[in-house]
Symmetry: D2
Subunit: 338 residues, 4 copies
Amino acid sequence: MIVVMQEGATEEQIDAVIDAMVEAGIGVHRTTGASQTILAGVGPTAAVDLSKFEVLPGVLNVHRIGSPYKLAGRGFRPQGTVVEFPNGVKVGGQQVAILAGPCSIENREQIFAIARCVQAAGGQFLRGGAYKPRSSPYAFQGLGLPGLEMMRDAAQEYGLLTVTEVMEIAQIEPMLPYVDCFQVGARNMQNFNLLRALGELRKPVLLKRGIAATIEELLLAAEYILSGGNYDVILCERGIRTYETATRNTMDLSAIPMIHKLSHLPIVADPSHGTGRRELVAPMARAAVAAGADGIMVEIHPNAGKSASDAAQTLYLDQFEKLVCELRFVAKAVSRTL
Amino acid sequence: MIVVMQEGATEEQIDAVIDAMVEAGIGVHRTTGASQTILAGVGPTAAVDLSKFEVLPGVLNVHRIGSPYKLAGRGFRPQGTVVEFPNGVKVGGQQVAILAGPCSIENREQIFAIARCVQAAGGQFLRGGAYKPRSSPYAFQGLGLPGLEMMRDAAQEYGLLTVTEVMEIAQIEPMLPYVDCFQVGARNMQNFNLLRALGELRKPVLLKRGIAATIEELLLAAEYILSGGNYDVILCERGIRTYETATRNTMDLSAIPMIHKLSHLPIVADPSHGTGRRELVAPMARAAVAAGADGIMVEIHPNAGKSASDAAQTLYLDQFEKLVCELRFVAKAVSRTL
Amino acid sequence: MIVVMQEGATEEQIDAVIDAMVEAGIGVHRTTGASQTILAGVGPTAAVDLSKFEVLPGVLNVHRIGSPYKLAGRGFRPQGTVVEFPNGVKVGGQQVAILAGPCSIENREQIFAIARCVQAAGGQFLRGGAYKPRSSPYAFQGLGLPGLEMMRDAAQEYGLLTVTEVMEIAQIEPMLPYVDCFQVGARNMQNFNLLRALGELRKPVLLKRGIAATIEELLLAAEYILSGGNYDVILCERGIRTYETATRNTMDLSAIPMIHKLSHLPIVADPSHGTGRRELVAPMARAAVAAGADGIMVEIHPNAGKSASDAAQTLYLDQFEKLVCELRFVAKAVSRTL
Amino acid sequence: MIVVMQEGATEEQIDAVIDAMVEAGIGVHRTTGASQTILAGVGPTAAVDLSKFEVLPGVLNVHRIGSPYKLAGRGFRPQGTVVEFPNGVKVGGQQVAILAGPCSIENREQIFAIARCVQAAGGQFLRGGAYKPRSSPYAFQGLGLPGLEMMRDAAQEYGLLTVTEVMEIAQIEPMLPYVDCFQVGARNMQNFNLLRALGELRKPVLLKRGIAATIEELLLAAEYILSGGNYDVILCERGIRTYETATRNTMDLSAIPMIHKLSHLPIVADPSHGTGRRELVAPMARAAVAAGADGIMVEIHPNAGKSASDAAQTLYLDQFEKLVCELRFVAKAVSRTL
């Protein structure tokens, strides 16, 4: 950290800041220029609340030098993390993963039809919601465990892995037999107790970026899981909230190369939630692969228009098949496979 | 709801939309103009996912007429809600409430000193965090139950009510004896299971607006609590995330009169989190009262600069006392008391 | 337009709204349901200020049915616009255009070296700033006309077209001999007098999206140019302002397919301004092509690190050459050429 | 400025950065810690593009220490600026100024009726638009000079000062006889040539914050005017663009105390544009005064509902009179007059 003193700060003020830094376990190097004094802090500052120094008398401003996360930082694993699943499927390697399924699991026929389609298209993951966080208490809230059983059966039948959202700690235990990868939804990205609990597991976690989360906050949320010893975290860009209303969210594709620079964790893209509009899903999926995404997660449904939730952003099965074909070409253009 | 068909939509397309509306339990009135057909839907549409209709062939766009919330709407209680506490203190009436305390409860001396000050200044609520949601896993996470005991003792001693944040369902039960008003933090505003659980209680809930929540989403979150039968909900504006970086958040004071128009629920303002900077707390607290806030919640600490968390936005006790004096004048100017 | 009356609106209120609509030249169809009356307005409402009706007594809300732009809408030219330049180069067709050059024209050597490189890589346009809008009055403001002369010479030498920013009406006339395509910068997207003046020309205009402009506002700005009879407008997505600070702006790639849906105008992407960081330019350029961009505009400089402006986002010439190669593959993957 | 080198940066990299800093006229102090080297730059860096250093090899990040503006900074005039008009009216002193008038000047009767009302209420400024920047080319564009003549006559009759928007340099000269204070609209806040031209005048300028401008950018825009020698600049907060759609803009009242801290310039608030809704104008005007605004600018019209533009946010004359009464009480509560 660096503390910049105001011009005209007194020696007493400077000493008080140095004392406060030392008290916080930080070593101090002082540079005094013609008009300003600068205090460079050395040591473990990740846990230090910098605002504490900002308000000391005579301080102009305070800058953090390093990143506030450690385990999630690129430096921790410069070669990058590849999350490997029991059946050998990998996320974060050469191959771009395909994760697809309905917003909500509705019934046995639906989820089996979808699983068949995902497998046929060459996808690896069946996604589907059984517990749904809905803005309105009057909207469909999901089938719960019976839905998860259906999804597990369908995944088994077609050799797929399952991904589904967990909304609270109490759900983890009963969900374990049905889930290959726990998804943390955007609204829970900063549900820190849930993150800690998932950190205790030894099962991969797909962590979605909060609707107004910065990249730094997303990596700090991942840090909660990593710091529990669970290193199999897959990040997910799914659109952020901006002033633009033509799309449901604004998909921040630049987060993909930026996170690859800042972190070793793989990152997948969810153009369904990212755009909220069916006709934008395919172009944004292609763009995400071109930008370096390690996987694409999309909502699909045999009767998309009648989907119990998220109908407007759900692809029909034939649209999904066509999309996977297109993605194969784009993946090849950026030297990856699908 | 209103469905606007595209120019040139066929009769078949129009019929298909009408069928879908009827299937969803919505009565339909059709208007056919020179170039366009409009279908007005009548009936209970709060639970209907309008996007489902938006993607039907021939549809130009779909508008919701009513609000998606019911119990939280002004129409449900046109006279407004006054939340009354066991000791007779009211929020939402003529008097502007004062809620003050430390970001984190740190020790017995600290919380007693603060409680004494809150009472002396004429405040009604002692606020303080025992469970802290922190962006970084390495930051101070709160004292937990022992902290709540200290706060309850201090509140008792000085005749104050307690407000503190609950982070998950499992905490509710053990917290009950210590808490007069449960606070739902901004990060949990859409933790719907938690909201439902609080709806089962018969204790007031202070619901903070999420950092990127619209006013509509805040009222829908309140609806979760109200729909459980707990009508004692106090809303809280605490700053939203915008592109501006000079302040920690952008305090949206217009939400106060807007919510008074849309809803019957009282709303308090938190200028500490709203601005993130000590020197802005007083002017924004004054502004909030002038805009019609039903209460002001501020972070205070005898040694604000050394506060275990949120140091930069915490007032010293004498600053708080001065602020309350100023607020008394502003309250009077807008025909309220403090 | 559709006016939804409040439940319980009186006949007098309804009549007053109908009168106001008729007065504004709008035909009215009335639908009266069990609880609510809806007034559908028919006729030319693009020029009507809808807020005028929103505040009439008894009105719940007002919705615009059509888009407020006409000439810029897809319906005006369903087949799409291809902007053709005198030398036969086209933007908006099968080929993805390459527009490259320095942020600021600095001297003859610089611009000639860059032009040589653009031509060698297969680009069609030499871009370069002579008049620079800078946030600070103390920053470099551009060479003016002498700079434009250098750029014209360099473009001539290497068979390229020139694109450069015009900042005010008085500059148009003297710039004419040097410019093949006038660029309107993000800060001037709503400089309506300038847009009108450019509408009088018969030279293509590249219109950049304002830093906080919605897609609708961008198309309305284009409408100003089109309504003067100049139909050769190329839009440009260059990043919008959001809360994220890791990147200079947030590039909204979904605007590309969305604009292709809403409008017939071609749209190019500027990943240099869109990201503000050199290492993100290539992945976002690839993503833009995959999303359907009709061209890519990038800042390049032989000594990028010492560029007189925008150094951090400027590519070195060899980085640019490599990028163009990559883009060729991506273009092919989405069935286009470069 | 401070340059933080990466851990492991080589001596050659460090030397190259030092050379680049020296070349830019900046003195360098070097601090080498256990793991990291920090270079503190001393000297005039306001005009330096810091991003230039950010991309040099081995650099982790670069921080600006001082503010990029000088004349607009509080340090330039610690006692604050009071803008005094020829008739003795002051903005920035003890008294809160009232600026009111129609969005557009429509005819003689309208502007005279309004001027009479402003004077009666105790206001000092008649505001009114003659040149209107409108998002749509089909909307009413203002009366031009004839409108200004009417406004001047009305202001003369009732002893008021005139404020009106100037949209381009060519308008300044003809507007001079009619205008006491030039207004720069939000869309032109970064029309730097216009700002420079206004800097050459010796007439006050009211500079509105751009819809997506940071406080720093607003002060840099003011710097353009100040650097021409025109020190009579009044800033104006008028709402910023956020994700919230319930209000037209989000009024950032915290900008008022923040700007008073950072700058010596007075700042007024425009709750009409700030909220876009008539019923929010009064509470937000009161809040602005409580937050320390030096003036309140509102749109008023004898027949607000039929106003040629901005009808939804315009007050009726009796609403305005009532508001001024309320503001008098709030001003008194914060020790000011009206």
